[in-house]
Every structure is written in structure tokens, then in C-alpha cells.
Assembly symmetry: D2
């Protein structure tokens, strides 16, 4: 396997996660540069993971002639500009979700990606979780017959800072977008209509920031199947990530991953520990796998498993869900492609 030279843009939480995986877990990935507007942070992270170069301006990465691929972990509102510049510079691109908050900018970016013929993968890491892959696999091989109802539960252990909420794009674009993608991944049919209900139940400050913290969504798929998703910003028992697919021949459930296998029984009953705290623990392997798969696509000149259209479709559903919540009626998905 030949080396692939990588530039990483964004040194926040998710940027650090990818840096660590690239630096220590993927032998042929050569992480050569890191850019973050906070130069001091960039330096610290670069030092930590033996990244030769660090910059405050990401253009140094895009202009770097030896870099094969860029990993975009910067704030969402910077994604499409970086995508377009990187694509035009011929770099392969891995971009964190969502691609953008705006459909037009996203569509334009996908065109530029297409024109330049580069690999583009969106960071829907949950598709690479082995448990959910097992669900997909069993559905595909017909274990539950025709899918009738898909249920996704996705609840964070605790809300992010309000400063994050304010620039997040809202619960549907920031959080439930993972579930919209998961729904498409599992049902293999496009969502044609969405109905969203929700409210501020966890923290009034989230409401004051113009967002909600609890939501349930109904999806109608082109093939007739139904889906329900529920999200909460706060599950005190830990990061709750479950899927249930019900069909004509049976049901598949992917239960939560336990912290350990121990059960303690005493005079109060039987007890198991809380769930792994958050996505860095729960989806550790999926973050690594998505990156390995991205690099393999570059090496083998093959199609990524999560492409630009997947990012676009999830956005369309998320935007429709937001509109549905605001208008309190089901919203048909605009088919932009």
C-alpha cells in the first residue's frame, strides 16, 4: 500500500480524533500538515501527533503540491468554500457532516467535485459501525423480508455548549442528520416526506438560542416503508444509539454497546454500568474504518461508500424536517437531483 499524504483542516474535537487515527492507526497515511485559525492549538495538536507542518491558514494545505487528500473538520459554514478550493486543486476530500447548511452551495460544490474527478467522502461514520453494518447486511440478505418500520433512537448524553448550538444549524442538521443518513443506508429507498415534532425540554437556553433539544420525526420512504426517529440532547444514562428494523419476516435490533459485560446483583436488584459516554467511545472503530476506507478508495480509484449525494440527501431531509417542525405539517422532500 503506497503512502497517501494528507492535510487536516480543523484542530477541534473531531479534527483531533482523525489526527490520532491517521497518525497511529493507519500505517500508509502520512499526515503532513494541519491548519487551524488558532495557531497555538494547531501547534499543540501537530506536536502531539508528529505532524511536520502546521498553519493558521488552510490555503497552505490546499496549495501544497505533495498533499493528496484533505480532511475537512472546520466549522460547517466554511465547508463548501474549502471543498471547492480543494477540489479545484485536485485534492481528494473527506468532509465532516453536514456538507453545508445551504442546498445551493452544496449542489455547486458537488458539481465542482464532479468536474475535477476527485474522491469525495462525507463523514457519516455510523455507516461503518460493525453493529449497524450487521443490520444492513441482514436486511440486504432478506432476513426480515420487506422492511415495514424503521426505528432509530439517538440520544446524546448531555447537550453541547450553547455557543455550539448557536452555530450548529439546529438539531435536525447537526444531530439528526446522522439518523437521516442511517435511514437511507438501511432502507435503500429515498425519503419522500417528513413530519417533525419537537420541543425544548432539556434546557431553556437551547430554546433561547433558537433551537429545540428533543424531537421525533416520521419518515415516509419511496418504497412505502415508514420510519421514526427520536433525538434528545440529554440521556442521563449515556449515549443511547439503537436501531430497530421491522419487516414482513421479522425484526432486527441493534442494541446499545455495553461498557463492560458485568452485572452486579444485590438486594436492590441487578445492575449494569451506564453506556459509553459519547461518540468518541461508542464509534471509535467506525471513525477509524471510515478513514481507512476513504484512503483505500484513493488507492484503488474506487467509489467511496458515502458520497456527495448522500450528504446532499441527508441535508434535504434535515431541511424539510426543520420546515415541518416550524410549519407543523408533513413536508415533501424537494428532489434537487
Amino acid at each position: 500500500m503506497k503512502d497517501i499524504k494528507i492535510g487536516l483542516i480543523g484542530a477541534g474535537r473531531i479534527g483531533k480524533l482523525h489526527a490520532e487515527n491517521l497518525a497511529s492507526q493507519i500505517p500508509n497515511a502520512k499526515l503532513v500538515a494541519l491548519a487551524d485559525p488558532e495557531l497555538k492549538l494547531a501547534k499543540t495538536v501537530a506536536d502531539n501527533f508528529n505532524i511536520p507542518y502546521h498553519f493558521d491558514d488552510y490555503h497552505h494545505i490546499i496549495d501544497h503540491p505533495e498533499i493528496d487528500a484533505v480532511i475537512i473538520c472546520s466549522p460547517t459554514n466554511t465547508h463548501t468554500q474549502i471543498i471547492q478550493e480543494a477540489a479545484n486543486a485536485g485534492k481528494h476530500i473527506f468532509c465532516e457532516k453536514p456538507i453545508d447548511f445551504d442546498l445551493d452551495r452544496t449542489l455547486k460544490s458537488l458539481e465542482i467535485i464532479k468536474k475535477n474527478g476527485i474522491k469525495f467522502q462525507v463523514g457519516f461514520n455510523r455507516r461503518f459501525d460493525p453493529n449497524f453494518q450487521s443490520v444492513e447486511n441482514k436486511i440486504l440478505q432478506g432476513d426480515i423480508g420487506d422492511l415495514h418500520i424503521l426505528r432509530i433512537t439517538s440520544r446524546d448524553p448531555a447537550p453541547p455548549p450553547i455557543s455550539y448550538i448557536e452555530v450548529s444549524g439546529g438539531i435536525f442538521l447537526d444531530m439528526m442528520i446522522h439518523d437521516f443518513d442511517m435511514a437511507r443506508y438501511l432502507v435503500k429507498s429515498e425519503v419522500v416526506e417528513v413530519y417533525a415534532a419537537g420541543g425544548v425540554m432539556v434546557d431553556n437556553a437551547i430554546g433561547e438560542a433558537g433551537d429545540i433539544d428533543t424531537a421525533t420525526v416520521t419518515l415516509k420512504f419511496a418504497n412505502g416503508a415508514l420510519g421514526t426517529i427520536d433525538n434528545s440532547r440529554q440521556a442521563v444514562y449515556g449515549y443511547d444509539q439503537r436501531i430497530e428494523a421491522f419487516g414482513s419476516k421479522g425484526m432486527i435490533r441493534a442494541e446499545n454497546v455495553a461498557t463492560d459485560t458485568c452485572i452486579v446483583s444485590n438486594d436492590k436488584g441487578s445492575h449494569q454500568p451506564p453506556l459509553p459516554h459519547f461518540f468518541l467511545d461508542r464509534y471509535k472503530s467506525s471513525y477509524l474504518t471510515e478513514m481507512i476506507k476513504f484512503l483505500l478508495c484513493i488507492e484503488n480509484d474506487s467509489m467511496p461508500e458515502v458520497i456527495g449525494n448522500d450528504g446532499l440527501k441527508a441535508m434535504e431531509i434535515a431541511l424539510a424536517a426543520k420546515e415541518s417542525y416550524l410549519m407543523n405539517r408533513p413536508i415533501k422532500i424537494k428532489n434537487t437531483t
Copy 2:
């Protein structure tokens, strides 16, 4: 405990169930008469359970001076007439769900019940299931804090005959009405709006009969909580009855009752048997308990745990769900009381 003399109207499946409980499990219940338009069926059931009298005309029961209470298990479209006649005759009434398909007839019946001061209990037996009572109890004592999301899964093992579907009132009034009542029982707040999606996925004949066989519903409660319910007429793995209540301090789940505790592990994996086949098995104890509680209310002159207003409210939600499905938009609940 003094004896209570009972007349049973309707000798079908649910009538037989109540006959058996009354005859063999409740010492102070004296089942003195049974009426069913099919006299031969009435005779067979009466013989089986040592019921002294049987009739083809239920008026013989209503006119019987010694009968204290009637149990109405006849087809739904006969309920309100029998209720009104029985109430005017001063009989206490236990009536199977739903009270009726029509709100006006139901309201009028409740007035007559009120005027006559008799006990009236609706057959929402699931409220008496010990597992769901444990859920209610834990919610009431604050174990999960404020309730944010209630999820109810209720799937039958196999569809009823089309002849039953045709007179059932449809999935929302016939099947999901149990879940609407359960939602009110657990959330302790009225449903103010409902959105229903659904389809014919199990059997086209159900569609041809004007009904659907699969549905998901979103409920909004007056206290701000959200609810989701999913129903299917066919879960091949057995009668699937689960509840999940999620709140600010945690979550309670009532899982399915297993057929036995055995797990077989072999080279294919680990295996547990299918679920108890249907409601007669799964809710055996709740059918008995609801009847005991009804008789105790008569004896102690106390208020039944499931009153006429509960039957009415569940109907209102079911009718709104039906309208929501037909109109494809959320429907506000008409508050008739």
C-alpha cells in the same frame, strides 16, 4: 365479600375469556346468565362454565331483577344501546373497548350512566398488566424525572379475518386505541394533537376492506411531552408489546414477556423462543385483574380505575388519528368534555 350476580352479553372470544375468569377465578362472582344471538353458542359456553341461564336476547339479562352487573362483550356497534338500557335498569357495567365508533352516541351513553349513578368500567385491560403498572409506578415516583418521550410498540402476531377487519372500525379504533389509553395512563396528561402515517404492507385484502395494517403515530401531550406509537397487524415473531418512557432523569423500558427463560446456544448462535402468541396468553393476568377490580368497585362503592371518560378520550384520539391519516396532516383533539 358478598356475591355479585353477573350477566354476560356476547359469547365470542373475549366473552368466553371473561366467562372463564368469572366462573373459576373469582369466588364471589356469580355468573348467572349469558346472552348471545347465536343460541347454540350461548348454550355451549353456558354449559362449559356452569352458567344457569342462557338467552339469545340480551334483554332477558337487563330485565333480570337479581343481576347486579353486566359485562358487554358484544360487537362494538351494539355497545351504546346495551349500555343505555343496562344503565337505565340500574345495572353496573363493564364494557369492552371501544365504547362505540361514534362520539355523540358515546357522550349520550356517558350522560345516562352518570344520571343512573352506576359503576362503569371500560375494558382497557393493559392498565392492569403488572409490568406496565410498574412503569406507571416508577414514573409517578419520579424515577425518570419529567417525561419527554413515550414510545409504545404494539404489534399483533397475525391479522384477524377480513370479516373482522370490516366491522372493526379500523386499526386506530380497534387496535391502537389500547395504546392511546396506555399513553394517557402513563403520561397523566391529555393528548392535544395527533399525526398518523400508515399503509397496507401486510395484506392487500386489508386495504381492499378500507383499512390499513401498519401505522406510526406521533402524539403531543398538553404537558409538552411527545409520544410515538407503532402498530402492525403482523409480527411473525409473536405478539410484540413494549413500552419505553424517556425523561429528564432516565428511561424505563418494559420489555416483552418471554415464553420461558431458556436460551439455547449452538453453532448458529444463541436462541430464545418466540413470544407468547397473543393477548389471551400475554395479558392473561390483566384480564383477570380488571374484572376483580371492577367487582371490588361495586362492592366498595368506589370509582373504577378506567372510567367512561377514559373510553371517550381514547376514542377521540383514535378518531383524530384516523382523520390525520386520511388528511395527511396533524389533527388537534376535539375536547368534547
Copy 3:
């Protein structure tokens, strides 16, 4: 089904349990008389369950010409005398476990039973537990191939009073005898050797009474299989009753029966309630079923499912286990039959 007239000897805990089942759950059982040396207790229990006659001397039952069967729930050291007198009087006999503490008296009783041709069933109720019957059924149908290792866990929630311990015959004859019978029931091969280890870990007063409260036993079966049993007089989390059968094609486990299906998840983890407290709850259905089956054997003139030889064999193993513990070496089973 014709009526069977029954006399009950012993009005203690287990006597009351059988009285309740016979009086309210088995329509053709006519409980006509109860005997207990404590006449006041006999009267109270007789009144509770509408038993026409009560006596302080059990001979009134044995001499009663209309009584078909006697249920022996008196202290173990009275069993063989009552058995012999009842058998000679031509009564069918249901006798609580163990038959006796002495092999010779037991053998003589079995001879008298045989000579009189009456039905004799021993109270190994656990054979009638539906979960363990499912284990037996799966073993018989070959689901795990040849059985290699049988493991039985049997732990009481709390020790009985020391006064009970003193006359109990010790942990092997009083408590583990159920497990010895279960082992024979499941393995379908006789125990040929036993090794017992144990100690006083729960309560020193048990040691002072000459007994132990914790024991592990190894069984060797004639067919080559191995068995392990562990007993404790005190499992603070409730009555722990589990079986695991491991064989050439797999494993069957019968897990504990849960108190309810609810799981509560909060910031401390996930929690289930303690186990049903004790045998009256856990084995409720098996006590009823064993009695129904006994009466059916009388009615149909068929062989009981737990016969005198089963009682004898379990005693032989228990006595060998006691000797093994005292001698600290494996003891071969004396084959008295």
C-alpha cells in the same frame, strides 16, 4: 373428571400452599379433612379453605373411609410411619420431600406402597416448572447432543430459622435434594459418585446447629457426564435458581425468572428488580401442576412422574454427599435397588 377426596396432613407453610391450590385451583379435588397436632392451626387453615373436617390426629384421616388420597406435609421424621399406615389403608399418597432421613425405613415404605398398589408421588415440584421442563425437552430432542456438564445453581434468599435447620437433616437432605433430583431428571442417568465441599459462611449459628450453609458438589453420572451444584442459604438478591446443560452440540441455560420485565436506566446504569423472593413465588405454577398431575394419575390409573424410587435415589445421593463432606473424599453411591 370425577371428584377425588383428599385428606391433608400438616398445616405448616407447605401444607397451606397445597391446601390453597386444592381448594381454589383444582375443581375436582375435594379437600375434606386436615390434620395437624396443633389443633388451633388446623382449625384456622380449615376455615380459610372451607375444609369440612379438621383433627389433631392424622389417624382420623387415614381411617376415613371416603378419603381417596392423602397429602403428607408433616415433619420429615413422621413421613414413613404415615406412608406405611396410609398405604395399608389403601390411600394414594403424595409425600413432600425428602421421604425420610433413613434409607432402610424408606425402602420398607416403598415395599408397602408396592404391595398395596397405591399411587405414590414425591414432592419434587421443580420437575413441573415449565422452564426446566423446556430444558429437559430440549435435551431429550437432542438440541445439545450428548450432555457433558450439568450445572445447577440453587441459592435461597435467606436462611430458615435455626429451629428448622436443627430438624432439617442438613443442607444436602433438606435443600440440595431438589437439585439431586433435578440432575437425575435432566441427565437421565444415575449418579454413581459424589464429592462435596462446603462451609459455614452465612451464619455461625448454622454451624453450631451442626449444619453448613454453603456447599458445592461434583456429581459423576453412569453415562460419563459430570455435574456441579452449588447451594447457599443466603443470596441477598433473591431466590437464585438456574440450570445450565452443556453438551457436544451446544448449551441450554434456564435463567432466573424475572419479577417484571422493566429495566430502569439512569445516571448510575441500568437496573432490574430483585428476583422473586422465594419458592412460593418462583415455583407457584409447579406446585399446582404437580398436584394436578398426581390427581390425574389416580383418575387414569397411570404412573406418577415422580415415583418412590426417585425419592429414594435423591436420598442416596444426599446421604453420600453428606458423608463426602464429612470424610472429604468422593463417595460412591450405594445402589440399594
Copy 4:
């Protein structure tokens, strides 16, 4: 963390496992040489993991002045000689289990280790499994009070080749030795007596090779606790590794690690996949952790968590178990230290 230079002796299955961990997972471990009598195999493995030197004679490793530590993965009958030579050469030593089949050679080796003051760790990797560490931790913090009964189940998915059985030292020294160490690790008290029963149930060829394939063992500990262990060379449902610790205040169970979290329900019941196939999957993290901890002991000049005495004690129990099986009586542990 400074680099530690390592020589690996033995390029078989477990040698390769350690080579991979050292080469790719532990940054400061520098695997500089590999020795195996099969030079071709040594070359292949060395090439795979970028190990600079490979030899057919392990003395080249012991004589290598720059090597800090040796990892001994050669056949058991070569262990003590290599240990003694390596210790005298001042190398730190990680040695796979068991140390030897002979107590005297082992004792002499431990003396030489002590005299040379080097670090010596035995490969009881299961002590580093996070689930079992959680069990130990909960016992230590008093969650189950005083330990009364420890139960360990350890069953391989399939027997090794007969050629391996022939030089393995038998089931007690080769397989159950892990469980003897686990018992000491959890009970924190020495085993004073052991009783073993067993047989050939899986494969007659194992019997012909002088070994057994199925065994149950009873342990008595100095603190009065009891232990039971069962081993089988063939669990068709996968590698079965469970622990149950029962005490005065409750019970802790470490259940098997599931392959994934998916449950499929269909008309046959509910199904979960077989267990992870074998130790390389099941104990992946514990093999890595034990090696990291060994290197940290070298770096920090601290005591390894599994020392020579642990290897010795487990051997003593294994040898006593073997004698117990052959003599069919409980055997007291010889306290050689």
C-alpha cells in the same frame, strides 16, 4: 517514554500475536530481533513486522548487548533454560504460561531471576481483560461483601491438534492454568486444596494422547471460600469465558463478550450470533495491555502485576489438580514457597 529494545523468542501463534502488538501498537517498543528454530518462519514473521534481525538460535538474542527484554513464546519445555540464561544476561523477561511443567526447575528459575534483579512477568493475559478487571475491582471495593463461591467457565471452541495436546502438559497445565490464576487474582487468597473430575467426551484421540478434554474442579481457598471451574475443549457456540463471584452482599457476573449487539427475531424466536471464535479475538486488548504494562514496569522500575510467584502458584494448583484427577481424591497444595 524511552525506547525499549526487545527480542522475541518463538514465532508461533502467540509469538506472532506479540510481534504484531509490539510492532504496531506500542510506540516505544523496538522489536529488534526474533528467534525461532525454523529459520524460514522466523524470516517471514520478521519481514511482516519489520523486525531487523532474525535467527534460528535464541542465544543470539540473549547475547545481544542492546536488547533490554526478551519475550519467551517458545514451547513450554524450553522456558526455564531460556529464562535462566536470559536472567543471567540481565535481560528483563516476559514469559508465556506455564513457566514449566516441573516445580523444581521453576523454583530454580525464580531464584536466578531474583538474584539478577530483573523484571519477570508471566503471560496470564486474562488479568488484563477490562471485564475481569471490573470484577476484581468490584470485589475489592466490597460490592459483594465476603466472597463465598467463585465460578469460572472456560471452554474452547474446538480442540487443538493432537500434536499440540501431546506436548501441552495436559488440560490442567495448558488450559485450566489460566483459570487457576484468575481464581487467585479474584479471591486474593491461596488455594489450599483441589479436587478434579474429568473425562474424555469430545475426542477419543485426546484420551489416546493421555489427556482428558472435559474437567470440573473444586477449589478450597485459605480464607474459606469455594471455587468451581469447568473446562471443555469444545464449545460449538464459540469461546465461552464467564466468571461469577458470589458473596455475602451479592453477586458479580462477567458474561461473554458478544460478537455484535444485533438480535434477530423471526418465527423461530430471537437469535444472537455465536461468540467471538477464540482467544485472539476475545482477549485482543488484554494481550496488548499486558505487554504495555510489562514495558512500563521496566521503564518505571516497578513490580509487574503478574510475577514469578503467580506463575508458580498456578502451576502448583495445576499439578495438584492433575494428581487429584488421577487419584480421585482431594489433594492439598504443596506450599513450595
